[in-house]
């Protein structure tokens, strides 16, 4: 019965408005003081040790690279490319919104940030083109959740750290499900557009596709660096994240020039020769190089990324402490034995995992929830012969859905914020598309191939230790 008290405490603290990190930490500390003889010194040390974890070291770097690239300017470029690619289908603008969310997700690991960046541009555009507000908000609210499924994803890094599977495998495993979810949403839009007779945009032509791809490509090359670097064995995931952060800095300040000392400096001025333009750009870049490092915009981006990092790491450190208490209380073993002796099939077990995560996702931040649930669920899954990578993807997809189901769905609040609709209106608007994501969840849960094919083909089969 004692372990139950632990969960009751967490829930109580959360409901009265204590920060998630403190709710987890305080419950663990109180529990240890009551039932265990761990010293307070070893508990406090856990807060420091979370930052010594090599895998988790990738988190601040990924946050920083997405801070440089999740600006309105980058979103504009991606949306332009998306419209050129899929705009000519019926309901093309909505499809382009989904497509843009998928690409933006590859630059930035956060779902709410994806909704803000893409949604604040696309939803307005869709309404001008004659879509209803509900349609526009519902589509973007759902498509934005792809942020944590399409690599690089911070939630995947956290799962890898919690269960000692490789980050590289998790990233690879997210690709096919991410594409599948996007395509399913787009098919849904196509059908809805056919029924509702939503017009298509004119075909933009190959020239526009080529030009917009080139423009968006600078940013999208980031994912090539990360995935290519990891699978090519050039660097570790943590180093890949650091390289990505440096690359993002260069692209944002010197290529896109959305911020920093070269802001509004055009690449090509009217009536300027090619050699002259090249010389001017080279010179300006060289002169601006050192000031750019200390520019106000750079500092602000660093600070923003730092804020997100410390907020997230505080939750993660306390969730690790919580997980430590669970393990010392042998809760995972008890639960495993209960599950095995109940004769539960893997099929039923996955249903239970789904329900548990959907419920927990109502209250918790995804990374924190994952760190609490993974130590309990992971050993059972291994015992039942479920692939750890497959389990990881199931968990991530559940987190996604948790973000768009009331009462505490992050994406709902964000969408309500950028459209001015009430949260209940957003819930209603998101519902039909949520059904598509549920079908997607069922596919991901019961067709392991979707998650395991890429990592097993490219990196060899997973071995369970």
């Amino acid at each position: 019965m004692e372990p139950l008290l632990l969960f009751v405490m967490v829930l109580f603290f959360l409901v009265i408005g204590v920060p998630i990190a403190v709710a987890l930490g305080l419950s663990s500390v109180l529990f240890i003081m009551l039932f265990s003889n761990d010293s307070m010194a070893s508990i406090a040390l856990k807060l420091f040790e979370a930052q010594q974890h090599y895998t988790l070291l990738a988190i601040p770097f990924f946050i920083l690279s997405s801070a440089f690239l999740s600006t309105g300017g980058v979103a504009q470029r991606i949306i332009r490319f998306s419209i050129a690619m899929v705009g000519f289908f019926p309901g093309g603008l909505a499809m382009a919104g989904v497509f843009a969310c998928m690409m933006f997700a590859a630059l930035c690991g956060s779902s709410p940030a994806t909704v803000v960046a893409i949604g604040s541009i696309v939803i307005g555009g869709m309404r001008q083109a004659g879509y209803t507000r509900d349609f526009a908000a519902g589509v973007i609210c759902n498509a934005g959740t792809l942020g944590i499924l399409i690599p690089p994803s911070i939630v995947m890094v956290v799962y890898a750290a919690a269960t000692d599977v490789s980050v590289g495998r998790m990233f690879l495993a997210g690709i096919i499900p991410g594409l599948l979810a996007g395509v399913m949403l787009m098919i849904g839009i196509y059908i809805a557009a056919r029924i509702k007779n939503i017009p298509a945009l004119p075909w933009a032509g190959f020239r526009e596709i080529f030009e917009s791809a080139l423009d968006a490509g600078w940013g999208l090359f980031l994912i090539v660096i990360i995935l290519g670097g990891i699978y090519g064995g050039i660097f570790t995931p943590t180093e890949a994240a650091a390289v990505a952060a440096v690359y993002a800095f260069f692209i944002a300040l010197f290529v896109y020039r959305d911020m920093g000392p070269l802001k509004d400096e055009p690449w090509h001025k009217d009536g300027e020769g090619l050699a002259q333009a090249a010389a001017r750009n080279l010179l300006r870049t060289l002169i601006a190089f050192v000031p750019a490092l200390f520019h106000r915009d750079t500092q602000k981006t660093m600070l923003d990324a730092g804020k997100v990092t410390l907020m997230l790491m505080f939750i993660i450190a306390n969730a690790l402490l919580f997980a430590h208490v669970l393990t010392t209380e042998r809760i995972p073993q008890t639960v495993t034995e209960a599950f095995i002796s109940a004769g539960l099939t893997p099929w039923m077990f996955l249903v239970v995992v789904n329900l548990l995560l959907l419920l927990g996702g109502q209250f918790m931040e995804p990374s924190g929830l994952l760190l609490i649930v993974a130590p309990v669920v992971f050993p059972i899954a291994v015992e039942m012969g479920i692939d750890p990578i497959h389990l990881g993807i199931i968990m991530v997809v559940n987190m996604e859905i948790g973000m768009i189901t009331p009462p505490v769905g992050l994406n709902l609040f964000v969408t309500s914020g950028i459209t001015g609709m009430s949260v209940m209106q957003v819930v209603r608007a998101a519902l039909p598309w949520l059904a598509i994501l549920f079908v997607f969840l069922i596919i991901v849960t019961y067709v392991p191939w979707v998650s395991t094919f890429l990592p097993n083909t490219l990196m060899g089969p997973q071995t369970v230790n």
């Binding site: 408005g17 709410p112 307005g124 083109a129 410390l310 907020m311 992050l410």
Partner: protein, 211 residues
């Protein structure tokens, strides 16, 4: 005046440690491929920077209200129940910070007394030689850095956290602050987007409508 200075210090420290982590890790990749070398101390120093960033930063996070929590239930309550509950939540946070401060101090004072070295960190050779090379018959010997130096951030950060939680609770009690927590991580960005949206609707030049 003082609060402006403290603000600059806190923000500067956060940006500095994050930048330091990126620069060290990136330079290690460059060193490996371009110069075929690397520094043993790099990884340990990066993790210490990370710890300093987070542990010094959490108190700053409390001050600006960046920590995530569930505000849905508290906001449903009538106003006169809301404030006492939030004050109670603030006291819980103070208790947490106090317990952690006690534990950190306990740990830190122990390693201070025992004087354990860090794994790979040494006082830079230049400094050591500048200090001692004047002595006759001196030969360079590396001097390790004690563990209590990087770990000092643990009691320091927890003391600051306790202070900021107490301050926030006080501000709530006197009605100068409403909540301890942020409802979601993108609150600021949403507020920005919202004001932009309104501007866009007013003059009807909203971007993105390439349709």
């Amino acid at each position: 005046m003082l609060s402006r200075l403290v603000n600059r210090l806190e923000e500067g420290a956060i940006a500095f440690f994050l930048a330091g982590m990126v620069v060290i890790t990136f330079s290690q990749v460059v060193a490996r491929y371009v110069f075929n070398s690397g520094a043993v101390w790099a990884l340990e120093l990066t993790t210490f920077f990370f710890a300093w960033l987070v542990l010094l930063g959490v108190s700053y996070g409390v001050r600006i209200g960046a920590h995530l929590g569930v505000d849905a239930f508290v906001k449903m309550l009538p106003k006169r129940y809301e404030r006492p509950l939030v004050i109670f939540a603030g006291l819980c946070c103070c208790a947490y910070a106090g317990l952690m401060l006690y534990g950190s101090w306990d740990y830190w004072s122990k390693i201070y007394r025992f004087g354990i070295d860090t794994e790979d960190l040494y006082v830079p050779r230049i400094i050591v030689e500048a200090l001692f090379s004047g002595e006759p018959g001196y030969r360079y010997e590396p001097i390790g850095i004690d563990r209590w130096v990087p770990y000092a951030v643990l009691p320091l950060g927890m003391a600051l956290l306790l202070f900021r939680f107490a301050q926030a609770t006080y501000l709530i009690a006197v009605g100068k602050r409403e909540l301890l927590i942020a409802g979601h991580e993108a609150e600021e960005a949403v507020a920005e987007a919202k004001s932009e949206l309104q501007r866009g609707e007013n003059d009807n030049t909203h971007t993105g409508g390439r349709s």
